[in-house]
Symmetry: C2
Subunit: 365 residues, 2 copies
């Protein structure tokens, strides 16, 4: 890996975002100066404008634009809110601070900017993401949820207090939280040859105990259920910057299948963003067919499970391949199972047998 | 702090638990050998046997005992389950492996041991805790939930792969997960003079950004809502082994107040255990009176909130002091607020003003 200076990378990134925000403000000033009502235009995120892009393997926004103009009395509120948010984002980035979505909502009150509730401010934050075509994490607004990572990867921080400091992510076997500092750290060095993401802390711990990171030269990620955006962003970076293949292992139910799908193809909610998907990632289990093959203990699928499976069958992301096949088997057997169910064969079976067989199988996926 | 050899500590602890388990098995063999039906007797955890101990400041079990005898046909099932679980625990401890509650449930099927569902196996795990008077973590059964820690504390691992290795918990600013490895690590060295626990990841990150761990010489803990048992155990250890006072900061609502209370006095569910409470810990906010004093943005309390406050008023743990007073104010103002609400005064206000004032106030609590 070519070595870079993390201080200058951090500075460059900050400059880029600040420049984008400055242009937004400059445009507003220019329009006012030339006697025009200032406005923002950006792609609509309404359902009718969300289309599936089979090449990118993700949802994207189509051609319909929306406008927020200071000249339209109905637009004045969202126009002003967006402008305020850009100001708030500029402050965060300039001062090297982070904020949660919740913090952003309450911060508006400091400037007597009105949001009815957090849902409204979240919506405007997504507007700003769309206008800038950048994830809110780039302008330092993070979600609450945190997931974890473990493995032989040396990182170098770019956040203010820690810039230039290094850490190897194999020194704490319970795992490192993936928060703002880790999300923005540079990758310095790794011996890893793949990434294995699992949806549960207990399985993550099991994998560490069984030395999966050594046996498979893997970086382990715990997505803690549906992977938070910062985790999907991290998986994307591991895949793109380090050229590591990504494998995802979930519970054997339709929600598990969808956790894998969102890592691979993203969500409709994030159709306005790139860099949150890993199109080449592979879902290696627990498949419906594994439930049958390994005679796993199961629970019956609920009506809601069945309905969800039927919905997903029509979802364009689920077109063909393992996705349709496994949904069909779920609907046929009407049973679901969990990663822990392999404990029926002893605690280590999931690593010594199941993971091994699935990683063999994955080569031909 | 006196230095110990973490390898021998780990060995000693393991030996102790194995000895307790061995005695349990030996007793069963002895009873069979002498022609008696083997049995276990332990304190009942039924509501009528849970009493509040004002000295310990926590719920404890009273004098009623229950028996599980192989000579009673109704007892054979729970007797056998308990015996199997002791066998499973022995295996975990001997082999240096950990398990989740869920894993334990599925593992039973390896030996054709029957549990209707996980609720039943969880119940038997609690029985074994009561019999041994040891938390399940000591026999290596951990919950799924993980919270986080950050600060100047050097630890030394006692888990197999990492035994003897050291780590300073201030090297990753997003925080270290508190899992099985950290829970069982030895504390080697710290410059900290207190522990500050907060209930939210976002506030934890804010505190790190604002260098609270330096300004207050504090170890920061993110409880992620209601503190998981491993986190309460960690807080207890920081308090007991390092003599550090513990301060808890929660949202300004009855659930926040109760999060603090459970750290201090534990839960009725854990009345059969010690070492999970920090009786001297202080709840420093957000109080109902702070909501008024700081003119925080609020939401109305729901009917459920009001009912909960009325329940807690009768709870013996809430007798007197700040506990009753703040419940009364909640019930009077019928409003609740959150830690993030301080962002109304700017992102750093919570540290530069609120925390500062509360820590002054805490001296006289």
């Amino acid at each position: 890996m070519p070595r870079k200076d993390s201080k200058s990378i951090a500075t460059d990134r900050r400059k880029e975002v600040l420049e984008a925000l400055k242009q937004l403000g400059q445009k507003t000033y220019d329009e006012v100066d030339s006697g025009k009502f200032p406005e923002f235009a950006f792609p609509s995120r309404s359902v009718s404008n969300i289309v599936y892009d089979p090449k990118l393997k993700q949802y994207v926004l189509d051609k319909i634009n929306v406008k927020r103009s200071a000249g339209n009395i109905k637009h004045i509120r969202p126009f002003t809110q967006l402008l305020w948010l850009a100001y708030f984002a500029d402050k965060l980035v300039s001062e090297g601070k982070t904020s949660t979505l919740r913090d952003a909502y309450y911060s508006s009150q400091a400037d007597a900017m009105e949001f009815v509730d957090q849902a409204e401010s979240d919506e405007i934050i997504t507007d700003l993401e769309t206008v800038l075509a950048r994830a809110r994490e780039e302008f330092k607004i993070y979600p609450e949820e945190r997931s974890a990572i473990f493995g032989d990867l040396t990182i170098e921080y770019t956040v203010p207090r820690y810039v230039g400091r290094r850490l190897n992510l194999n020194s704490h076997p319970d795992g490192y939280l993936i928060g703002p500092s880790l999300s923005t750290a540079e990758f310095v060095e790794t011996s890893a040859e793949m990434v294995i993401a699992v949806e549960k802390g207990g399985i993550f711990t099991r994998f560490v105990e069984e030395e999966v990171e050594k046996k498979y030269k893997a970086i382990l990620v715990d997505t803690s259920g549906q992977a938070p955006r910062s985790t999907r962003y991290m998986l994307k970076r591991l895949n793109k910057e380090l050229n590591l293949p990504v494998y995802i292992m979930t519970d054997g139910d339709v929600y598990g299948e969808h956790i894998a799908m969102v890592v691979i193809s993203g969500s409709a909610n994030a159709a306005h963003l790139r860099d949150l998907t890993v199109p080449t990632a592979k879902w290696v289990g627990v498949w419906a067919s594994d439930i049958v093959k390994y005679k796993l203990p199961t629970d019956p699928m609920t009506e809601a499970d069945v309905k969800r499976a039927q919905e997903l069958k029509k979802d364009p992301r689920y077109h063909g391949g393992v996705w349709q096949r496994e949904l069909d088997i779920f609907l046929k057997i009407k049973r679901k199972s969990e990663l822990e169910a392999f404990s029926k064969y002893g605690l280590t079976f999931i690593v010594t047998n199941y993971l091994k067989e699935k990683m063999e199988e994955a080569k031909s996926l």
